[in-house]
């Protein structure tokens, strides 16, 4: 348990530095440190699938962010902090903190999920019958591609639509307008 608190402290410190620093590059690197701490937490929670996905997407996202910040001219953030904005954000954080305290009282204790204790829940059926029904030894894959494949279809559709939008909006040459004559 202690390792989770150490990693959470590391992530919180990295998040504070990422917000507070003036240099864009060090801010991006601190965001990457948060992601790596998260992937380590997933690894200690014995979820290697999520850990692999987290670390890989983190590396790629870090490269994109560094690429996007370095190629710009302005790598430093200038300007004064607004007093009103700071007060509003502190109040909102305090309200969310109070709501979170209320919510955390109702949650089951850490490490004993409610699906593990209730007898005939869906995840119990996945664990006991998943390998026999799908033949996949990696139960995570059998859930996301067989039992819950509609979720994967929706995720793939979201990705596909966003890529279509990005390639259409950010392309260099616009297509010819219909009233323009052919050459």
């Amino acid at each position: 348990m202690a390792v989770f608190y150490i990693l959470l402290l590391f992530m919180i410190i990295a998040a504070i530095i990422a917000v507070e620093t003036d240099n864009l590059l060090s801010s991006v690197i601190c965001v990457g440190a948060i992601g790596f701490g998260g992937s380590l937490i997933f690894l200690f929670l014995r979820a290697p699938d999520i850990a692999i996905t987290q670390i890989v997407v983190e590396v790629l996202g870090l490269i994109i962010l560094i690429r996007a910040t370095i190629s710009r001219d302005r790598t430093f953030i200038t300007g004064d902090r607004e007093f009103f904005g700071m007060v509003v954000s502190i109040v909102i954080i305090f309200v969310i903190f109070l709501a979170g305290m209320k919510v955390f009282e109702t949650l089951p204790t850490f490490g004993t999920p409610i699906f593990a204790t209730v007898g005939d829940s869906a995840s119990q059926a996945y664990i006991s019958e998943g390998m026999q029904k799908t033949g996949a030894t990696n139960l995570v894959t059998s859930v996301i591609l067989d039992f819950r494949a509609y979720d994967t279809l929706g995720e793939a559709t979201v990705l596909f639509t966003s890529i279509i939008g990005a390639t259409v909006i950010l392309r260099r040459k616009a297509k010819k307008l219909p009233e323009e004559p052919d050459q």
């Binding site: 699938d49 890989v56 710009r72 799908t134 990705l159």
Partner: protein, 159 residues
């Protein structure tokens, strides 16, 4: 945009093959070991991103051009939908029915083999193709946008 130093170019020309092979391994063994289509596809995309960072955007675009990448993206989406539709056409159980496993492999000793789990490896390959091509397209279009960026204008900064 002409690329980095010769040290980076040499190392990345050796390493890119290993990264690509590792991505293929993660995709193909997704139903046996941790990993799967999404993580493997991101690894495949990152090998091309390494090429783009080391050798410049033009070199990466010669290897995998933008129309080809978008065609691969569409092919992955189509393959995933086709696997789902095959379950609908093949039997009465419906969309996303794992027909290969339920019809042919059920009850046999196929667990822990590479050829097992029915349609799950096919879906993994489709998702991997789709995610890899999509993320490569994102970085390609963003780098094209960055190249046209003028320091005076502020319109291109919102993304």
């Amino acid at each position: 945009m002409k690329g980095m130093t010769i040290i980076v170019k040499t190392i990345s020309s050796w390493v890119k093959v290993l990264i690509f092979l590792f991505g293929i391994y993660i995709i193909l063994f997704g139903h046996l070991t941790p990993g799967g289509g999404f993580a493997g596809g991101v690894i495949l995309a990152s090998s091309y991103v390494l090429l783009m960072l080391a050798f410049g955007r033009e070199f990466a675009e010669e290897n995998l051009s933008l129309p080809l990448a978008s065609k691969l993206d569409c092919a992955g989406a189509l393959l995933f939908a086709a696997v789902a539709l095959c379950g609908l056409l093949y039997g009465a159980a419906g969309f996303f029915w794992n027909f290969i496993h339920q019809k042919y492999l059920m009850g046999t000793d196929y667990e822990f083999n590479l050829v097992s789990a029915g349609t799950i490896p096919l879906s993994n390959i489709a998702i991997g193709l789709k995610v890899g091509a999509s993320l490569f397209l994102v970085i390609l279009t963003l780098s094209m946008c960055c190249k046209d960026f003028k320091p005076g204008s502020t319109e291109n900064e919102k993304e």
